[in-house]
């Protein structure tokens, strides 16, 4: 096959990996990177390399399952491990994703405030728009919105350059790990992995690949899509850290929120960098708020055997529309009620995510080694060793991350 033909093939297969990866940088992810950059400068940049490798190893397996089986991860878990495993997995996913939705609406509210718009108008408006998009919209439109929204992430790269970092020390910190033995440093480096590798994106990736109907013969192109997607995620994370590290760290400004970072950037990187940062945050938040509730409603209905689909009415698919509507409505409401337990919900979501990840990863590696399901596409022995090592490492770090979330140091 000629090189040109290969490239064309890639274009038709590409999408799921890149979209998934972009949604991964949601409001909570951006917060973690901003905090990491402001607190430790370039010091934590090196963690992105092992994180990317772990992400590629895991997503590659999930993508491969999507291509080979044509089914979602929720389907496979239900069919091979029964209703109990599927039910508790979905319950966990629901709680964690509700927290994610709240975090996304909070990110949306904060970025709108920075842009000078009242959250009491913009949050209900955003929620209504998202709900309408699915209830009344077409899939084509949603997909185009998503692909366009992925482009806005470039905003972070631009603000990274506008901050004028010292590239020599950036490069050094990226490739030469330097450990610091203080708790905050360790917690933040674990946090970076925890926000990058999440359970729900494994479900999302596999379903969207299965949905796209990618054939086994085109699997190599699909793998490239996944690898590029994972790299893009971490390139964006890289620039967020660089931006905050260059501007906020030398001036000793600590931030706790992504929106604080956007505001704090103003005096050091200029109005445009700050504005770009805020717009990118708004984009990431609304993107998450579209995908997370929708994806959750799909997996839950699929695993439980309930009718699902955006072109269905409430009467036809009550559980699907119910879950979807409830997540958006309650998610938006929590952000607007003064004194609502916002922090508690986000901590809960992080903890549930952390608790679920080991199970999800173990299901993944058990399923991918099941020759009855995967046929000749099971892991090779060498790849299995790498996968197990990755999974064990990620699981250990995640358990630590859960601990650090429940018992914060500060």
């Amino acid at each position: 096959m000629s090189r040109w033909k290969n490239f064309l093939l890639f274009l038709t297969v590409m999408g799921p990996g890149i979209i998934t990866a972009n949604i991964d940088n949601d409001a909570s992810g951006i917060t973690t990177y901003s905090v990491a950059g402001a607190r430790f400068g370039y010091e934590l940049l090196w963690t992105l390399i092992p994180t990317t490798i772990a992400l590629v190893v895991i997503q590659e397996m999930v993508g491969r399952m999507g291509v080979v089986t044509g089914k979602g991860l929720a389907d496979l878990i239900r069919e091979n491990y029964g209703v109990k495993a599927a039910f508790f997995m979905m319950l966990g996913l629901f709680i964690a994703n509700f927290g994610n939705t709240v975090a996304d609406f909070a990110g949306w509210a904060a970025s709108m405030e920075i842009l000078g718009m009242s959250k009491y108008i913009m949050v209900p408006l955003g929620a209504l728009a998202i709900w309408m998009l699915v209830a009344k919209g077409s899939y084509r439109f949603v997909e185009n919105v998503l692909l366009f929204a992925c482009l806005i992430f470039i905003g972070y790269i631009i603000s990274g350059f506008m901050a004028r970092p010292d590239w020599a020390s950036v490069a050094k910190s990226t490739f030469v790990p330097r450990l610091q033995w203080n708790t905050e440093y360790i917690y933040l480096s674990i946090g970076i992995i925890g926000t990058t590798i999440t359970p729900w994106m494994q479900f999302y990736l596999q379903s969207s690949i299965a949905e796209k109907g990618i054939k086994k013969e085109d699997y190599k192109a699909s793998r490239l899509d996944v690898i590029i997607g994972c790299s893009i995620t971490d390139i964006i994370s890289f620039f967020i850290i660089v931006t905050c590290a260059t501007t906020l760290f030398p001036n000793g400004i600590k931030v706790n929120e992504a929106s604080e970072a956007a505001l704090a950037l103003k005096p050091f990187a200029g109005d445009y960098a700050s504005l770009l940062f805020a717009i990118s945050l708004a984009n990431a938040s609304i993107l998450g708020a579209i995908i997370v509730p929708l994806a959750s409603a799909y997996y839950i209905c699929e695993a439980m055997g309930w009718e699902a689909g955006i072109n269905k009415t409430f009467r036809e698919a009550p559980q699907f529309i119910g879950i979807y509507t409830m997540m958006i409505a309650a998610g938006a409401l929590v952000v607007l009620i003064p004194g609502a337990p916002l922090v508690f919900l986000m901590v809960l979501s992080a903890v549930v995510n952390g608790l679920m990840l080991p199970f999800v990863l173990i299901f993944v590696i058990m399923l991918i080694n099941n020759a009855k399901i995967m046929g000749e596409y099971v892991n090779s022995r060498g790849y299995n060793a790498i996968s197990w090592a990755t999974i064990v490492t990620v699981v250990v770090l995640t358990v630590l991350f859960v601990f650090s979330t429940i018992f914060p140091v500060t």
């Binding site: 039910f87 699915v134 969207s208 995908i291």
Partner: protein, 420 residues
């Protein structure tokens, strides 16, 4: 003599099995199902003893109900079991799998299986696809009943009788997707396409293979292009050619245009010459133009023939055509000169000529016209079909209103399985 009354499969899984002396010899893991008359029945129980699978034949089962399961066998006479692929196991192969509920034309999951005693054997009488099945497996059926009683409502049973279920593959090996074939062909092809688009590729292909040629052709045209290509590639060329031949030429061209060139060529070679030429001609046009939308099957007569002659010829010619709305008038050079609706023809004096009744101020487009422009013209002039002509007014084909509606409002099966 083993089973009386009824029970659910989930109620016996993990239950201890006793020997005649009351010692536990293992726990129920699965049951083997074989074809029975009239319903499938259990031929053996698989138990795990210290983690090792063993098989107990149904004849060796003494008592089998939701409280006690006992065997005539002792632990030392147990036979080990290897889980061969060809056995049909209720838990492994049926439980939690998707089945097609032909009644509502939707895909559901098997949450539980209902068994009943019949002449001493345990037969599978129904699958539970409802909320009750899920709650029962989670061990929460009774407590949910109590809670709901408080609200003065109750959960209904949602069972599909096994009478309506038929294994997808004849050897009964896998029933990952089950549907009564009889009922499947009773469904509208558009509903079948909807079902195919909701299940995995492999299952969709299996479902498709069971359809008769005519239904297959109609269902295929309702599917989204990638899915069409997949299915046609997965079946053998002969069968594919039969299905393509059955389709309207414009729809056939749509399917073939998404296939690899060699495969499309191969299929065309198996199709009747004349039909293949029609399709090839359509394939030469761009997809989103009038040429790509049109079909080259239409009715056209010389304007000088009489209405009664036109009706006679129409009765013969229209047999092969799915839907006809207009009779076109073309001169010796095949140039389009007029059009008459079937209503005009039927209402007209049989002795008048086609030229007398036809409308001569007619709208037409060239094959290169954009599909949205075609849609606008059809909508503006309230047409049922729009003729496509070349630069010399020679008639090439027609675009009918249903082709246009599919661009504006694609049927759900064409929009894909999942909308995330």
């Amino acid at each position: 003599m083993a089973l009386f009354g009824e029970l659910f499969l989930s109620e016996i899984i993990k239950k201890p099995v006793f020997d005649p002396k009351g010692e536990v010899i293992g726990r129920v893991k699965d049951v083997i199902v074989v074809k029975g008359d009239p319903l499938p029945e259990i031929s053996a129980v698989i138990i795990h003893r210290k983690g090792k699978p063993n098989i107990i034949k149904w004849d060796a089962i003494n008592i089998f109900n939701k409280r006690i399961i006992s065997s005539f066998q002792y632990a030392d006479s147990l036979q080990s079991y290897e889980y061969p692929e060809e056995d049909l196991l209720a838990v492994r192969d049926i439980l939690d799998k998707q089945i097609v509920d032909a009644n509502g034309a939707k895909v559901v999951r098997v949450n539980d299986i209902k068994l009943e005693g019949y002449n001493g054997s345990a037969v599978l009488i129904a699958v539970d696809v409802g909320m009750r099945g899920i709650l029962r497996r989670l061990g929460a059926e009774h407590s949910s009943d109590e809670v709901l009683k408080f609200f003065k409502t109750q959960l209904s049973y949602n069972l599909i009788s096994w009478n309506y279920i038929q294994p997808l593959r004849p050897e009964l090996k896998s029933i990952a997707l089950t549907v009564p074939r009889q009922m499947l062909s009773d469904l509208h092809p558009a509903d079948i396409a909807d079902l195919i688009s909701q299940v995995s590729r492999e299952e969709g292909a299996h479902l498709f293979k069971d359809l008769d040629i005519e239904t297959a052709a109609e269902a295929l045209s309702e599917l989204m292009p990638e899915r069409q290509a997949e299915i046609i590639s997965s079946i053998d060329t002969e069968q594919a050619a039969d299905i393509i031949e059955e389709m309207q030429p414009d729809e056939a061209a749509d399917v073939l245009s998404d296939l690899p060139t060699e495969k499309a060529k191969e299929i065309l070679e198996h199709i009747d010459r004349e039909e293949a030429e029609d399709i090839e001609e359509l394939l030469s046009h761009e997809e989103d133009t009038a040429g790509g939308l049109m079909t080259n099957v239409f009715i056209a007569y010389p304007p000088q023939i009489t209405v009664s002659e036109a009706i006679d010829r129409f009765k013969k010619d229209a047999e092969e055509i799915e839907s006809v709305y207009y009779i076109y008038a073309v001169d010796e050079q095949e140039k389009l000169v007029g059009v008459a609706s079937l209503r005009d023809i039927i209402m007209a004096d049989p002795q008048s000529t086609l030229a007398d009744v036809m409308e001569t101020k007619l709208k037409s487009v060239t094959p290169e016209t954009d599909d949205m422009v075609v849609a606008e013209i059809i909508s503006k002039y309230n047409l049922v079909a729009l003729p496509v002509v070349d630069a010399d007014d020679v008639m090439l084909g027609i675009v009918s209103v249903d082709d246009v509606i599919d661009i504006i409002l694609p049927p759900s099966a064409k929009r894909g399985r999942r909308k995330v």
